[in-house]
């Protein structure tokens, strides 16, 4: 019951955004760690994939949990987005004092892009996966296509932008704002999205540029 009244409040909704964001970020970190195996070669990547699929029940539960968290993030995000629409363009002259709010202003749009990307991505590597093709091979197959790779790279840039505001915003929502650590936080706000961009975005580039010759 308290949870219901909690998420009815403005700060409650933001805390749902931040908590789900944190969980998604953790998933992303694990995902990035696993995918980094690609850079070691198809053999290692396949080992990782096979290992993961050795626990089908766990994967199922994990997948469902992830879906729920994701839906919460998107759902509350949409709610906030539509609430915001009510107040936007109030003034004849719109001047933003804060510089570099591109990331914050585009949160719903980068979010929407990531949503589309995820549908494509999950379909390609999960539900729509052709029978009998190894995942390690599938990766190579997909990323040999220029537009497909480009789509992925753009998506990872969108993700990085989304995280650029999201990471700091999450900490602020949790109440983590202290002059002593704010410098560290602002460094992480740039560093964390960049790490994800390098690991994930590197994969299509890895295949596109031909660096993956020995894959």
């Amino acid at each position: 019951m308290w949870f219901l009244s909690f998420i009815k409040t403005s700060i409650g909704k933001k805390l749902v955004m931040a908590t789900s964001g944190l969980l998604l970020l953790s998933f992303l970190a694990i995902h990035a760690f696993g995918n980094a195996a690609i850079y070691m070669g198809s053999k290692y990547f396949q080992i990782y994939a096979d290992f993961l699929h050795g626990f089908p029940v766990l994967v199922l539960i994990f997948g469902f949990g992830l879906l729920l968290i994701f839906l919460a993030h998107v759902g509350v995000g949409l709610l906030l987005f539509f609430e915001k629409r009510k107040t936007s363009s109030r003034y004849d002259v719109e001047t933003r004092v804060v510089e570099n709010t591109f990331a914050s202003r585009t949160m719903p749009y980068t979010g929407a892009w990531i949503f589309v990307f995820l549908i494509v991505h999950v379909f390609a590597f999960n539900f729509g996966k052709p029978e009998g093709v190894k995942v390690s091979m599938l990766v190579q197959q997909y990323f040999s296509g220029f537009f497909y790779s480009l789509f992925y790279i753009i998506s990872f840039i969108a993700l990085a932008i989304h995280l650029n505001h999201g990471f700091w915003s999450m900490l602020q929502t949790f109440g983590l704002n202290h002059p002593r650590y704010n410098k560290l936080i602002s460094t992480l706000t740039v560093a964390v999205p960049l790490i994800f961009l390098v690991i994930f975005g590197g994969i299509p580039i890895y295949f596109m540029t031909g660096s993956a010759a020995g894959y």
């Binding site: 308290w2 909690f6 009815k8 409040t9 403005s10 700060i11 409650g12 909704k13 933001k14 805390l15 906030l80 609430e83 915001k84 009510k86 107040t87 936007s88 109030r90 003034y91 004849d92 002259v93 719109e94 001047t95 933003r96 004092v97 804060v98 709010t101 914050s104 202003r105 949160m107 505001h165 700091w168 915003s169 602020q172 929502t173 949790f174 109440g175 983590l176 704002n177 202290h178 002059p179």
Partner: protein, 252 residues
């Protein structure tokens, strides 16, 4: 040194809360650059009165930047282009001759426009009424020195307490949120030991009232912090978030 400038003003005029408003354009000549922004509007109003027109209604009182009565959005910025300055302390030397200045009221769902630039900000009062106090009656208090407060804490509390309740944070927030206003009061009273007994109840009831008034949520865009004429930091919003979370997780 003193010089004069000519200006074109585009000011939002609205008869009352129900009427549709629109911009009116006025020309002002020979405005001394030593004038404050509100004195410039005084000059316009004297001019309008002499022309038999109705002067522009706007809230103002102390003209020292402390009462929080004045405020308008000047060229898209609450309280105008000067940082940490209320409208009454903004001076015309910040403008150039030939400038067109667009002046609009503070807009928010929770701030209905009453007339021209004059808006109803009583929603902010109701947030304070919901819990922005320490429940102590007159008399029967302990000696002031029996509640020690470190200088550091006193300074932080004072930073938060310097809010003048002008509503610029709401006016500048893309979501029309009153987080900085509410956060500042919650932070002040959660920092000081006097506010501790009621902190959980306070965070919850003030935030609930804030939502009820129709203020938006926070998307962490920091506009409020820069619009705030007293430079109140969004660190106070973080503190409020913490207080609020604690109140829900640990409150009775």
């Amino acid at each position: 040194m003193m010089s004069t400038i000519d200006l074109t003003l585009k000011i939002w005029r609205q008869k009352n809360s129900d009427a549709l408003g629109d911009f009116e354009t006025y020309i002002l000549r020979d405005i001394s650059t030593d004038m404050s922004f509100l004195e410039m509007i005084d000059v316009l109003n004297e001019q309008l009165t002499r022309e038999g027109k109705e002067p522009v209604a706007f809230d103002h009182d102390c003209r020292e930047g402390i009462c929080g009565a004045c405020g308008a959005v000047v060229d898209g910025v609450a309280h105008g282009p000067d940082l940490e300055t209320t409208l009454c302390q903004l001076h015309m030397r910040k403008f150039k001759s030939g400038d067109t200045i667009v002046i609009e009221p503070f807009r928010s769902i929770a701030f209905p426009i009453k007339k021209d630039l004059l808006v109803d900000r009583s929603a902010l009062d109701r947030i304070i009424q919901a819990g922005g106090f320490v429940s102590v009656n007159t008399g029967g208090t302990v000696d002031g020195n029996s509640i020690p407060v470190s200088t550091e804490t006193a300074e932080l509390a004072m930073d938060a307490a310097s809010c003048i309740g002008c509503g610029a944070c709401v006016a500048s927030c893309p979501n029309g949120a009153a987080m900085l206003f509410t956060g500042a009061k919650i932070a002040q009273l959660s920092l000081l030991p006097q506010g501790h007994p009621e902190r959980k109840e306070r965070a919850r009831s003030m935030v609930t009232q804030m939502d009820k008034e129709g203020f938006g949520y926070c998307s962490n865009e920091k506009e409020c912090e820069l619009a705030c004429p007293k430079g109140i930091s969004i660190r106070n919003i973080a503190r409020m978030n913490r207080e609020f979370l604690k109140s829900f997780l640990l409150g009775e």
